[in-house]
């Protein structure tokens, strides 16, 4: 509830800031923003009394034409009760960014809302990372709340009926307000089993190659193998990173010119993705561990002298031919040749 109140207050302030008398220059905009909220509210409430009241209605009408809902709210009631509607907040953010006001950028960053997707205003690129950060965090927070509520329910249910499966006698502690007769117990146990089965099906879909297997034990085997291979991949990649860089501090300023931009969309991955080999096969672990050493070895001579493409290609090819994991390697060498 506090969250909603906070949102509404900030939304309030923002709308008031935007509704300020526009005919004045941008300096007055900042002046109005520095005003405490009650004064701004007063200005808003009594447009006729304000010195620039005559100009206010048309100006805010012109600005807010595309947002009739906001206009109706402002025109209709004297009381400013803004609902903490995410759609409205989103529109307000878009509008504020769209207006391109420099002094408005900090207040936009303060409001916790989703970043506008269609924004192309260059002046707001600075506040984008902050907004995006908060937006992502807010999304995550909402999902966390849902997950937490779900989890608390499932944990409670599990605690209440978890012992029932293991012991011969069913000693079940139930939550307040639930009966302990056998029917409801059985129902609850069945519901829990169904939930677990549904999640197992999800897992089966997630892990490649599990759909055809029937039987819990084998499916669990596959899942265990998959998790182990993923963990091994993490180890291998971290080793590779340590091998590639002499020091930990990655020279990342050249990769990421602006932090806020989506990294996966920039041009480098398009160049890089042909190089990234596809799924590292599960059985090729021994060869994978041998690879980074070879990488280190042939990187030194390449640094030493300024090489042309041909010299660069041959050590790479020799290393690739050494690697016997069949699927990924020929693909990679073909793609490398295409690049050059």
């Amino acid at each position: 509830m506090e969250h909603a109140a906070l949102d509404s207050i900030q939304f309030n302030e923002q709308i008031q800031g935007l509704m300020a008398p526009a005919p004045e220059s941008t300096n007055s905009f900042t002046a109005l923003l520095e005003l405490p909220p009650p004064q701004a509210v007063k200005l808003l409430h009594s447009p006729d009394k304000a010195p620039t009241g005559s100009e206010k209605p048309p100006c805010h009408a012109s600005i807010l034409k595309p947002y009739p809902s906001i206009m109706s709210i402002i025109d209709g009631t004297r009381k400013l009760t803004f609902p903490s509607n995410t759609a409205l907040i989103e529109r307000a953010a878009r509008f504020s960014v769209f207006a391109g006001e420099g002094p408005l950028a900090p207040p936009v960053a303060e409001v916790k809302n989703e970043p506008p997707e269609t924004d192309s205003n260059p002046s707001s690129t600075q506040c984008d990372p902050a907004v995006e950060n908060k937006g992502a965090k807010r999304k995550e927070r909402e999902k966390k709340v849902k997950a937490r509520s779900k989890k608390s329910k499932s944990v409670a249910a599990a605690e209440s009926s978890g012992d029932g499966e293991k012991l011969p006698y069913v000693h079940v502690r139930v939550r307040r307000g639930q009966a302990t007769d056998s029917h409801s117990l059985a129902e609850r146990v069945n519901a829990r089993r169904e939930k677990i089965n549904a999640r197992m099906k999800l897992l089966q879909e997630l892990v490649p190659g599990c759909n055809k297997i029937s039987g819990t034990a084998l499916v669990l085997d596959e899942i265990i193998n998959h998790v182990q291979s993923l963990q091994r991949q993490v180890e291998f990649l971290s080793m590779k990173l340590a091998a590639v860089n002499p020091r930990i501090h990655f020279n990342l300023d050249s990769i990421m010119p602006n932090e806020g931009a989506s990294l996966m969309d920039s041009s480098i991955p398009n160049m890089v993705s042909p190089l990234m080999w596809p799924e590292i096969p599960n059985n090729g672990n021994r060869e994978q561990y041998q690879q980074p050493w070879q990488f280190d070895a042939f990187q030194q001579p390449v640094w030493g002298r300024e090489e042309e493409n041909t010299n660069f290609m041959t050590p790479e090819n020799s290393m690739l031919s050494y690697d016997s994991s069949a699927n990924s390697v020929p693909l990679q060498s073909n793609q490398l040749k295409m690049e050059l």
Binding site: G162, T216, V227, A242, F250, M276, W303
Partner: protein, 169 residues
Amino acid sequence: MRNQRSVKQEFLRKWITGLRRYSCDEKKNMSFLERKKAIKLSADIAMASTRDKTTRWSQALIANASSSGDTLTGSSKNNSSRSRKKMLMMRRRRPKVKSAKKEMSASCIAKRLVEKRTRKLKNLLPGGESIDEGCLVEETLDYIESLRAQIEVMRYLVTASQLIINPYP
């Protein structure tokens, strides 16, 4: 499912800030294994913190890292101790399974196999020993997804840094 791209971005950002702390603290050159450990640890912590302690495996990961005296997790020590106590208490509450029957029926065999594997899976998952079976599947799902995202980001970084060192003319 979660928005994968934003999760990856968040993970990358946190990972890089964690790594920068390493490079600021120690000016001396670290050995290869130390570097690898540092990279992996900061990556794991960054991945766990993207879940922001909603899942048990992320809590356990951070708790383990902070217990080993790592400097990166200073802020989360309080939460981790609390969560660890909770996990220990949960373990004590659950009674041990006593198998009264010893006949080898098919269902018993099947149950034993499944139990073995769930135990193995629990050992794999960070902080998985004291997880209830109902939550185990959820946690594994989440963990697998996060691992995949982590691997993709790491791969991207590896190839990008290789490109920087050996740029194509």
